[in-house]
């Protein structure tokens, strides 16, 4: 059954943590994540959620406390954003290296300086190489469903890795929309009790993550890489099973829309993926063959799926809400890297848009798509990386 409520994605994330029967939450406030942890604190205080809420003194401590609790055998949750996530950076490696299935909601916010409280993906994408699985959500329902899916995935013995569930600040975090909160019994049936690869146990003492010599370090890294590959196989399965039980499906690794016959595939993430679908609908009315590939899982990166799309499309346009200075957006880089050895690969155009929360609506995306269609007609991409709607600036 479940019940439909009208609420923000942040509150929905909190309800998802509750539905997942999280037992320890440690978090530190930062805009726009705050209402996630406020809601959890409230649920715990009122006795509606059976968990320990640790009011830590920093984000670094938040994740370190989750590491301790996960190691001591309970399901943990945290949430953060921007500078807070950056402060966790060191510990993110520790969590994945120790193979602890912690789930964190990242409410995306641009990195300072200058201060910005509005979203882009520079905070979470900077954590790309920390060994965390990364999901990116396009709406509030997906936030709820992905948190539950993430626990199921992370606690699978083929994975035992932590995961981030990312959602854009304000665009999702504070927007009220109807969302279905599934029944506890149904969630329980889908998500078994907490499991991890090892726990602290006095009857079976282990020294967790001690010094590893060059003889062994690489093997530990390789096992993480293997787990990431396993995740590529498991995420679509879990998504499918979830869809069968709850009626919501997100395409596994990539949410594909009208891609079958598309000449131009717009490849993007998060809410821009939702806007891109509207843009595609509108452009199709004009006879333009546009499809959308919303990258739902950035780590592991869905290389094979991108290659499959590239076999059919004549052009892929990446729209990044991110910039890796001195290069381009990570999405562009990774799509290119996925295709480099393909014969007859489509041309690729990269767009940087929406940094620091600048609105990217379907109209912006239509504009981008039209430009690409023109380039496609001319037979050449005029600019490999273009900043969308940039004002005149002197450097």
């Amino acid at each position: 059954m479940g019940r439909v409520m009208i609420d923000t994605a942040n509150h929905v994330a909190a309800y998802a943590a509750k539905a997942a029967r999280v037992r320890v939450v440690a978090a530190y406030p930062i805009t726009p994540q705050t209402t996630v942890v406020e809601k959890i604190a409230e649920l715990v205080e009122k006795g509606e959620m059976d968990a320990e809420y640790i009011c830590v003194e920093s984000e670094h401590s938040a994740i370190a406390a989750c590491i301790g609790a996960a190691a001591a055998g309970v399901r943990t949750f945290t949430a953060s954003s921007a500078q807070g996530l950056a402060l966790m950076h060191e510990a993110l490696h520790w969590a994945s290296g120790a193979r602890l299935p912690i789930v964190m909601v990242v409410v995306n916010r641009a990195m300072g300086a200058p201060w910005s409280i509005w979203p882009d993906f520079s905070d979470s994408l900077s954590q790309r190489d920390t060994g965390w699985i990364q999901f990116y959500c396009a709406d509030s329902q997906e936030v709820f469903d992905t948190v539950i899916q993430a626990y199921r995935l992370c606690e699978d013995e083929r994975i035992f890795l932590p995961a981030m569930v990312c959602l854009e600040g304000f665009i999702l975090s504070h927007k009220y929309v109807p969302v279905k909160i599934h029944d506890q019994d149904d969630v329980d049936a889908f998500l078994p009790p907490y499991r991890s690869g090892w726990i602290l146990d006095t009857s079976n003492p282990v020294t967790c993550v001690n010094l590893v010599s060059p003889e062994w370090y690489m093997e530990f890294r390789y096992m993480i890489q293997e787990a990431m590959e396993n995740a590529k196989m498991l995420i679509p399965k879990i998504d499918k099973e979830y869809g069968e039980r709850f009626g919501f499906r997100y395409g596994g690794l990539v949410d594909k829309y009208l891609c079958e016959d598309a000449e131009l595939v717009i490849c993007t993430m998060g809410t821009m993926g939702a806007e891109a679908k509207i843009a595609a609908n509108n452009l199709r009315k004009e006879g333009l063959k546009v499809g959308v590939a919303r990258i739902r899982v950035f780590r592991p990166f869905p290389v094979e799926e991108i290659r499959k799309l590239a076999e059919k499309a004549r052009m892929i346009a990446t729209i990044d809400r991110h910039i890796s200075f001195g290069m381009d957006g990570f999405l562009a880089t990774e799509v290119k890297a996925s295709l480099y050895d393909m014969k007859n690969k489509p041309s690729i155009a990269g767009f940087i848009a929406g940094l620091g929360g600048r609105d990217v609506t379907f109209k912006t995306i239509e504009k981008v798509a039209r430009k690409c269609m023109k380039w496609l007609g001319n037979g050449r991409v005029e600019r490999e990386t273009e900043w969308v709607d940039l004002r005149d600036v002197k450097t």
């Binding site: 968990a51 401590s61 301790g68 001591a72 006095t202 282990v206 001690n210 010094l211």
Partner: protein, 301 residues
């Protein structure tokens, strides 16, 4: 009170560990296990101890150990304590075991947070007065005048008084110790185990490698630290300060050996001029007047 004879024979710090010969911290660790048994979850931040454990796939610790980030012992222990509460495991003691660098410098935030939250655990700072693991750099606990690799002419500032900082957190139990007085240390650990909340024990652990003395002299140097009054053995229980034997008689200045006896045995103080030694003696004497005052108060903070 436990006597030496009553200590368990079991060893949870196993043979073949990787500490330097004469390592004070490893003596203290061995005593800690003797005091608390094996029903402990040990939290270890980056330090000499991460090396003493030995490299994967080996370990020299026969208790469960969670290694953690340098600055995170307090926070990781908080997470473990919360999980134990959830799991209803009330017979397991959570112990943070961190060096003076991980305690007085980089880790003070997470320790302070844990203490303020009244996290139920024992935090032991083993103080070798330097960053041992990274090759003996100065820490906040390095004493005035001591050579380290980052204070080649001797440290110019005084030692940070970490137990007093912890006392300001008004936690229920604070103690100082030294493995040269094993029974005192063990009794303090056992007492701490019975108290709920955050317990802090600061144990001075001589380090032959860093302090530059012969490895056979660790126990002797520790004794001298106490006998000269450079290191006082005390407890603060529910705010009440009390000097413990053998420090309790040292408020009488004539009972204290001159600090020079302690300093002169260690090469790290070799370059100290006469007037610096006098200055240290004056400071120590001042500390003891302070201890006397504290002992006379109902609550020290």
């Amino acid at each position: 009170m436990t006597t030496i004879k009553e200590l368990p024979r079991e060893e949870y710090l196993l043979k073949g560990h990787a500490a330097c010969a004469g390592c004070g911290p490893s003596i203290a660790l061995r005593l800690l296990f003797k005091a608390l048994g094996n029903k402990v979850f040990l939290v270890v931040p980056a330090s000499c101890t991460t090396v003493i454990e030995g490299p994967y796939p080996f370990t020299s610790f026969a208790v469960p150990v969670q290694n953690t980030l340098f600055e995170a012992a307090g926070a990781t222990a908080s997470g473990i304590a919360a999980a134990l509460k959830i799991r209803g495991l009330d017979d397991v003691t959570v112990v943070g075991w961190a060096g003076d660098g991980g305690t007085t410098n980089i880790g003070i935030q997470s320790l302070s947070g844990a203490a303020e939250r009244e996290t139920n655990f024992i935090y032991v700072c083993y103080d070798n007065e330097a960053y041992g693991n990274t090759g003996l750099q100065r820490s906040g606990a390095t004493p005035y005048g001591a050579w380290t690799t980052t204070t080649p002419m001797g440290k110019k500032e005084r030692k940070k008084d970490m137990p007093s900082i912890m006392a300001a957190h008004r936690i229920p139990y604070i103690a100082t110790a030294c493995p040269s007085y094993p029974v005192d240390f063990i009794n303090k650990l056992r007492k701490a185990k019975e108290i709920k909340g955050t317990k802090y024990i600061h144990v001075l652990t001589p380090c032959p490698t860093g302090w530059r003395y012969d490895a056979s002299k660790t126990v002797e140097i520790g004794r001298l630290a106490v006998q000269t009054g450079v290191w006082a053995l005390y407890e603060i229980e529910q705010g009440k300060f009390r000097l413990n034997p053998p420090s309790d008689r040292l408020t009488d200045k004539s009972q204290r050996k001159p600090v020079e006896e302690y300093l002169s045995m260690q090469e790290r103080f070799r370059h100290l001029p006469e007037d610096s030694i006098k200055k240290i003696q004056r400071w120590v004497d001042g500390d003891w007047e302070h201890y006397q005052t504290l002992a006379s108060l109902e609550r020290c903070i």
